[in-house]
């Protein structure tokens, strides 16, 4: 039986979610999720304990045989703090965190993770740095086909793959791209873009904040519709919208540089100063400053900080992460102190 603590340590060593700089630094990562259910069982919340185990065992058996990089964890064996880290890494959902039953099958590089018995029997998730919708989908699809060789899925002539909630029906595909959009946010253009995306059947969410307000100017854009469009169509549409937004962001950056280079540079260098020297830092301030520094690196204003260090900070500054690696529950101010120290260390030992 694998130990979740060892595993999270291992994960920390090969954190790819927000890994090395990609050619396009606006698109931070790509995520593909497929929702599937096994025929002959009710949806997860309505399974008996025995049925839950049957489903878990069946899926674990198939997946572990197929891919030796995967490790199986029963949710019951994952302590709350570790679960919170997994939520912050987007490997499990906040809803899954609260469940008694279920399992997580995951690779240490975080590229593949499968939630078993969350809202659906299977939530297959593949992750990649940068913008790689097609490639990432192919990986998820390969896993899907492997499971399908050994188990019958719920499938309906009209509605396609059946899911517990009708918002996931049909393809069961949710494709998302995480975008860093500081210039669009600074110039107040982001709200117009979010509205336009909604009309095009896309969903835009801030990553750390609630709703559309985003800490750290990081947004996730994903498809809303899963039924009535083929996988290829869903991916192509999303790709197009994402490319468009990236284009807008790059143009906004150029305009900012032309109109107010000194002000922009001032803001960026101050942010770096704050991160390097502050002793107490809220997650809000950290997210904001890290976003500025990231932008500074992209624009060539900051040259002595590798983007990897910034990305590490982004994934380590969240409350679950901080407490997990300090191995204790921290009060808000203690967390702010620990956060400041961690970021200081990450940005000075580079």
């Amino acid at each position: 039986m694998a130990n979740i603590d060892d595993f999270l340590q291992q994960m920390r060593d090969c954190d790819i979610a927000l890994a090395d700089a990609t050619p396009n630094s606006v698109a931070m990562s790509t995520r593909i999720r497929l929702a599937r259910n096994l025929d002959g069982y009710r949806f997860p919340p309505y399974l008996t304990e025995g049925e839950e185990m049957e489903v878990e065992n069946a899926i674990a058996h198939t997946l572990l045989d197929f891919d030796s990089s995967l490790t199986y964890f029963s949710l019951a064996d994952i302590p709350l703090l570790a679960r919170q880290v997994l939520v912050e890494k987007h490997l499990i959902s906040p809803q899954f965190l609260q469940q008694q039953q279920g399992a997580l099958i995951v690779s240490a590089d975080e590229k593949t993770s499968v939630m078993v018995n969350e809202e659906d029997h299977l939530r297959i998730q593949c992750l990649a740095p940068g913008l790689q919708l097609k490639e990432t989908y192919e990986r998820a699809f390969a896993l899907d086909r492997k499971i399908e060789q050994e188990h019958n899925y719920m499938y309906h002539q009209q509605y396609g793959y059946l899911t517990s909630c009708p918002t996931n029906l049909g393809t069961g595909l949710r494709a998302s791209v995480m975008l860093h959009l500081p210039a669009l946010t600074m110039t107040n253009r982001i709200n117009v873009i979010i509205q336009a995306m909604l009309r095009l059947g896309m969903v835009v969410r801030g990553i750390y904040g609630e709703g559309s307000t985003s800490l750290g100017n990081i947004y996730q854009i994903s498809n809303q519709e899963t039924l009535g469009k083929s996988e290829q169509q869903i991916l192509t549409d999303l790709q197009q919208q994402v490319e468009q937004i990236i284009e807008y962001e790059l143009r906004a950056r150029k305009a900012l540089m032309q109109q107010s280079a000194v002000l922009l540079e001032d803001q960026i260098q101050r942010a770096l100063g704050t991160l390097r020297y502050a002793r107490v830092m809220t997650s809000e301030e950290a997210a904001k400053s890290l976003s500025s520094v990231r932008l500074g690196i992209d624009l060539g204003i900051i040259q002595d900080v590798p983007i990897k260090a910034v990305n590490d900070c982004i994934s380590c500054m969240q409350p679950g992460f901080l407490q997990y690696y300090k191995n204790e529950t921290l009060q808000t101010q203690e967390r702010d102190i620990a956060r400041a120290k961690l970021i200081r260390d990450l940005l000075t030992n580079v």
């Binding site: 399908e148 309906h156 059947g201 469009k229 083929s230 290829q232």
Partner: protein
């Protein structure tokens, strides 16, 4: 105007009824109307009792819908409305009348396109092959190429057996 019962199809039938001198008017679609009055000859021969008719009149339309119960999991439509989740695969057929209303605001279309399980895909391919072979067989017969027609017929039978086999024992 939409049908009062299902609230989905166009109302094409107007039913009026006199109760204590007051005129009640209702509008139903073709599908729902027979539940209220013997309009079509699809209905059972024995006359609907007045009690039954009254029961139908009085049942508020929503209660009927909410009380629809899935035989697969035992959950009602009211349960779905409360949780936003279905209980099992059969729910999608049980509540099929409600599906357009649920799906239209959130989905691109009501018909799935895209990937399907290999088994379903294979079946589709076999069905298509059978149709093609039947056409070829017809052609062979009109051209009096009976030996060829016989071979084609054997091929069709073989494909049909494969199709049936898949349905009965789950092996494809």
């Amino acid at each position: 105007m939409l049908c009062e019962r299902c609230e989905q199809r166009q109302a094409v039938i107007t039913v009026s009824k006199n109760t204590n001198g007051e005129q009640e008017v209702h509008h139903y679609c073709e599908k729902c109307a027979p539940n209220f009055y013997p309009f079509t000859n699809e209905l059972p021969k024995e006359p609907i009792s007045i009690q039954q008719l009254l029961a139908n009149w009085q049942a508020p339309k929503n209660v009927r819908k909410e009380q629809l119960r899935c035989t697969g999991c035992g959950y009602t439509y009211a349960h779905f409305r409360k949780t936003g989740r279905f209980g099992c695969a059969k729910c999608y057929d049980t509540f099929i009348d409600q599906m357009p209303k649920i799906l239209q605001p959130i989905q691109a279309d009501l018909q799935h396109v895209g990937a399907m399980p290999t088994a379903v895909e294979n079946k589709k391919t076999i069905k298509k092959q059978i149709t093609e072979l039947r056409d070829q067989m017809q052609l062979a017969i009109t051209q009096e190429a009976f030996e060829e027609a016989a071979t084609l017929r054997d091929n069709i039978r073989e494909l049909e057996t494969r199709l049936k086999g898949g349905e009965t024992d789950g092996e494809y």
